[in-house]
């Protein structure tokens, strides 16, 4: 049991990193910010779920998905459908020609609730759907692609195409989905007003707690043999295959897990922001999420959270003053990170933290791989130390 615990926490250094993150988002930010700003942070932290999922999938597995918005969106829509049905009780929709169905359905001449909306009348079924539907969808995509050994750039393009298709589908099917406006006017969760300040605090903490839980789960996966195999596959896929592993199954699993984590983020987004729309599914948000992970450090689960916060903070700052410049700036940021800091903020930390005596002491207590010293005979290639934290 102790071994499992230390695996989840990532050793002493990992536990400290996580404790600092938890203290930052659960104590420092709530104390230092007004409810409006904290609400923004809460929104950003829902994107962090996707960034964490990309650390698993892209950083460790080498599978670049440019369509994580799909799963974020599916999770978000699942939650939005439940909340919308609750907001559309017959009394408050009495002026509609068909009372009791969501307003946008009424505008589109629908007279009955579509069958696939039925399960979203129940909260337990909704939560189940939020977790299961994106996972099944990811399984289908993953099975179709990885069994045929589609990978690399092709996989990235196909996931991007699926994200685009899904957002077009949602926009086109206005009567069933709310169309381009999305699902809006969400008010209560089981009678609890989610728009009040107190509810926003509660939801912020639920969100932060779930994020930490997802990081712990990811830590466990990465510290198991599965995590080692992910790195091995990223490095030499053929060698893994010819060591008796069915590589595609491992890829499908990590893709499904990443989808589920993203979907939790999406559901929390809907709860905190109060609506869901196709703009969070398409190509642009999906690529933005990759940038969050890249800036934070694609190998670092905790770095991904800081990366998300930092980029979004920058986005809010700049788009308030120079909205038209922001996209260029973000593109530049991405190029700069990829070229100069391939391991993002986490990589910079690893490189420079060692110069600070206190931090150096910390990182030396958990040696990952001893360097050079003990290699006899043959000359050693001098490669820059590249052990990932």
């Amino acid at each position: 049991m102790n071994e499992t615990l230390s695996k989840i926490l990532g050793g002493k250094q990992g536990a400290i990193g996580l404790a600092i993150l938890a203290a930052f988002i659960m104590i420092v930010l709530p104390l230092g910010l007004d409810p409006f700003r904290l609400g923004l942070i809460g929104k950003y932290l829902t994107y962090a779920f996707v960034a964490v999922s990309l650390v698993l999938l892209w950083g460790n597995g080498g599978i670049l998905s440019l369509g994580q918005g799909i799963f974020f969106g599916l999770g978000g829509y699942g939650m939005a459908m439940f909340l919308k049905l609750e907001a559309s009780d017959p009394v408050s929709t009495a002026i509609q020609s068909t009372p009791g169905i969501p307003d946008f359905m009424d505008w589109n001449q629908l007279t009955a609730l579509p069958w696939f909306w039925e399960p979203f009348k129940s909260l337990p079924l909704t939560i189940l759907a939020i977790l299961v539907v994106p996972t099944i969808f990811a399984f289908l995509i993953g099975y179709a692609m990885f069994k045929r050994r589609v990978g690399g750039v092709y996989f990235a393009i196909i996931t991007q195409a699926i994200a685009l298709i899904l957002s077009i589908l949602i926009v086109g099917q206005q009567g069933y989905t709310g169309g381009v406006n999305g699902i809006t006017d969400l008010k209560t969760l089981l009678g609890w007003d989610i728009r009040s300040d107190s509810a926003k605090y509660v939801l912020y903490y639920v969100n932060a707690g779930l994020l930490i839980a997802c990081i712990l789960l990811s830590r466990y996966v990465l510290s198991s043999k599965f995590g080692m195999l992910l790195l091995a596959m990223r490095d030499k896929e053929e060698r893994v295959r010819f060591s008796g592993y069915d590589v595609s199954n491992f890829k499908i699993f990590i893709f499904c897990l990443a989808a589920m984590i993203s979907a939790i983020g999406g559901a929390m987004f809907t709860l905190q922001v109060g609506f869901m729309s196709p703009t969070f599914i398409g190509i642009v948000p999906s690529i933005e999420m990759v940038i969050f992970a890249a800036v934070g450090g694609r190998m670092s689960l905790i770095g991904a959270v800081y990366g998300t916060l930092l980029v979004n903070f920058g986005k809010t700052m700049f788009s308030e003053t120079y909205p038209e410049l922001w996209l260029f700036l973000m593109g530049g940021l991405f190029i700069a990170v990829v070229m100069f800091f391939p391991n993002g903020i986490a990589g910079i930390y690893d490189k420079y933290a060692k110069k600070v005596p206190f931090l150096r002491k910390l990182s030396e207590e958990t040696p990952k791989a001893k360097k050079a010293e003990a290699i006899p005979a043959a000359p050693v290639e001098t490669k820059e130390a590249g052990v990932k934290a």
Partner: protein, 247 residues
């Protein structure tokens, strides 16, 4: 084809790439505990034969039987699990992992998704890692990152990764390419040790090295067998001298 006592029985094996027959009606039989060396000029089809046996390339016709089990219909990981290990020409190791982790990842337990999630580093696993590390002369550098190894050590590590799986048939593609003379000698000793309880197929160009290890030599030329037998006989063969060894 009836059952045989051979570990590997290749019969009428053919593969054609757009009409070009890289391997043409090849027959080859490997005994238990035999170390067979396959030689031949570039483009003779040596690597293709290994690719066919391990499932990397699918055959056009013919059969490959490993302990009387047909391999041509199996997928790559099933062939490995049946007991066939293959080393690639350029060292294929996981550079981001330590020597220890490279060996541990190759341990044949926890090969499924969920098996690997709940895989425990038991004493048995560790004992196997230490045993193999000793075999490949790397027990002192278990915690070195694999990217930092010398070329020769990388080759040995990959052989070690295969040994972790205790394969009954081991196939090595040019294992001493790029090695120093001393490393070649050590590799020859290593191969002689590890073929005690398994069959080994080696592709090699270095004749000095071949002499040190081969039980029997097969000479391939244009996808066909040109000669087969003991090293000295093959070396004396007129046809072999003409197409490969030179005068």
């Amino acid at each position: 084809m009836s059952n045989t006592d051979f570990v590997l029985a290749v019969e009428d094996l053919t593969v054609s790439f757009d009409g070009f027959k890289a391997v043409d009606k090849l027959n080859m039989y490997i005994d238990k505990n035999e170390l067979r060396v396959v030689i031949g000029p570039n483009g003779a089809g040596k690597t293709t034969v290994l690719d066919l046996i391990c499932g990397k390339t699918k055959s056009t016709a013919g059969s490959i039987k490993f302990k009387n089990r047909e391999l041509t219909k199996l997928s790559e990981h099933e062939i490995v699990r049946a007991g066939v290990g293959r080393k690639f020409q350029t060292p294929s190791i996981y550079e981001n992992l330590s020597v220890y982790q490279n060996l541990e990842v190759s341990y044949p337990k926890g090969r499924g998704v969920f098996g690997s999630l709940f895989f425990k580093r038991s004493d048995e696993v560790m004992a196997q890692v230490y045993k193999i590390a000793k075999e490949i002369m790397m027990e002192d550098i278990l915690h070195t990152e694999a990217a930092l190894l010398s070329h020769g050590q990388k080759q040995w590590l990959e052989i070690g990764m295969l040994l972790m799986q205790e394969p009954e048939l081991l196939m090595l593609d040019e294992p001493v390419a790029g090695m120093s003379a001393k490393e070649r000698d050590q590799t020859a000793e290593l191969l002689n040790r590890i073929c005690q309880n398994r069959s080994v197929i080696v592709i090699e160009h270095d004749m000095e090295f071949v002499k040190k290890i081969a039980h029997k030599v097969t000479v391939l030329h244009q996808g066909k067998i040109l000669a087969e037998g003991a090293m000295d006989k093959v070396q004396a063969n007129e046809k072999v001298i003409e197409v490969y060894l030179g005068h």
